[in-house]
């Protein structure tokens, strides 16, 4: 047995953590090795000093009160905790729920506006300048953009706006909602085209 192993085992032997066979091996080595016996004596001094250290001190009453207060709070919350949501989520649930309801309401209103656009609004869109592809597009860019332009051109051109709206375009032309509406109409037109299986007309009609 090597001295290094023996010295590792000295502490374990004192703690009763060596098997019977290891214990006998260590005893045989200690009987033959003066250096390891000296080591055993000096380690015994350290271990005895460690045993004399205070194991525990009283817990301050304030600490106990704090812990029990927190635990009572958790118990009152019905915290069963390994599967519940984090406390900040549970506490914020009413706010999250209210936000979700408002968001759904806004989305619902906007969807209904898009689904049933006012005829007058539709016609007013004709007044807005449109981005169209050039008649003879530059080759590199035109290849990539051509399908998009073709899809955009699928939107049916609205009729002329009523005279009263045409005279006051500033009332509605720049409203973000109307810009969104235009986009939605593009998508509707694309969807209708796809379901019909027809071909997209050329950008210039």
């Amino acid at each position: 047995m090597r001295c290094r192993t023996a010295q590792t085992w000295i502490v374990a032997a004192r703690d009763g953590e060596l098997g019977e066979r290891q214990r006998r091996t260590l005893d045989r080595h200690l009987a033959e090795c003066g250096a390891c016996r000296a080591e055993q004596v000096s380690l015994e001094g350290v271990l005895t000093a460690l045993d004399a250290l205070e194991p525990a001190r009283e817990v301050p009453a304030r600490l106990e009160a704090d812990v029990l207060r927190q635990v009572r709070g958790l118990a009152a919350d019905g915290a069963a905790p390994t599967w519940t949501l984090p406390q900040w989520v549970r506490r914020g649930f009413p706010a999250i729920a209210a936000t979700a309801v408002v968001a759904l309401a806004v989305v619902g209103v906007r969807s209904s506006e898009v689904a049933m656009p006012d005829a007058r609004t539709k016609t007013a869109l004709a007044e807005r300048p449109r981005v169209t592809a050039p008649a003879t597009p530059a080759p590199a860019v035109a290849k990539a953009e051509a399908p998009v332009v073709a899809r955009r051109a699928k939107v049916r051109a609205p009729a002329e706006p009523p005279a009263e709206l045409a005279s006051r375009p500033d009332l509605f032309v720049d409203l973000p909602m109307i810009r969104e509406l235009e986009k939605m109409q593009h998508f509707d037109a694309i969807a209708a085209e796809d379901s019909d299986g027809g071909e997209a007309p050329s950008p210039n009609g």
Partner: protein, 208 residues
Amino acid sequence: MAAPLRAGIEAAAGTATTASSDPDVALMLRVQAGDQGAYRELFAKFAPRILQYARRLVGSEARAEEVTQDVFVQVFRFRDRYRPEARFATWLYTIATNLCLNELRRPERHLRVDLWEKRDEPDDEGPPLPDRDAVDPETGAATRELARDLEAAIAALPPKQRAALLLSRMDGLAYRDVGETLGISEGAVKALLFRATHALKARLKAHM
């Protein structure tokens, strides 16, 4: 000192620890069932040990109290995760060790004053002194000095060695439980304890 706990843990040792063989497991099962009286019993039994363990591991009275508080709040919060197959002390010390090691990783702790640092003035808050009522004053003084130097030597150990030493020698956990608590093998526990004991011996040469 550590013998009663070690004896209790060894009594509970076996392939399957049950509530009937380990009173702490029975208490914890009652906590799981919503018995706050059982929780208070567990706190009264283990909080002093956990506080002392944390004090020696993190080296600060205030932080040790915070860690102890966190440990017992977590015991309650995660009570449903406890399984009676595991010894309660091992589960508890695993929580305590993780929180202490996290505490030691916090950079601001390096600015804190070492609790076990030698002081010139009479020490009211340092480690408690064994043999305070020793008949021979010289012997009492030497014992107190040894205890203080030993505490300082323990505080100077690397965290894992310190944790292994405290769990094994101060809190009386078996090597298997120390290994489980620290996430290492029994062989690694033996090696840690060997290195820790040798480091202490080197620092306490003057006393030996």
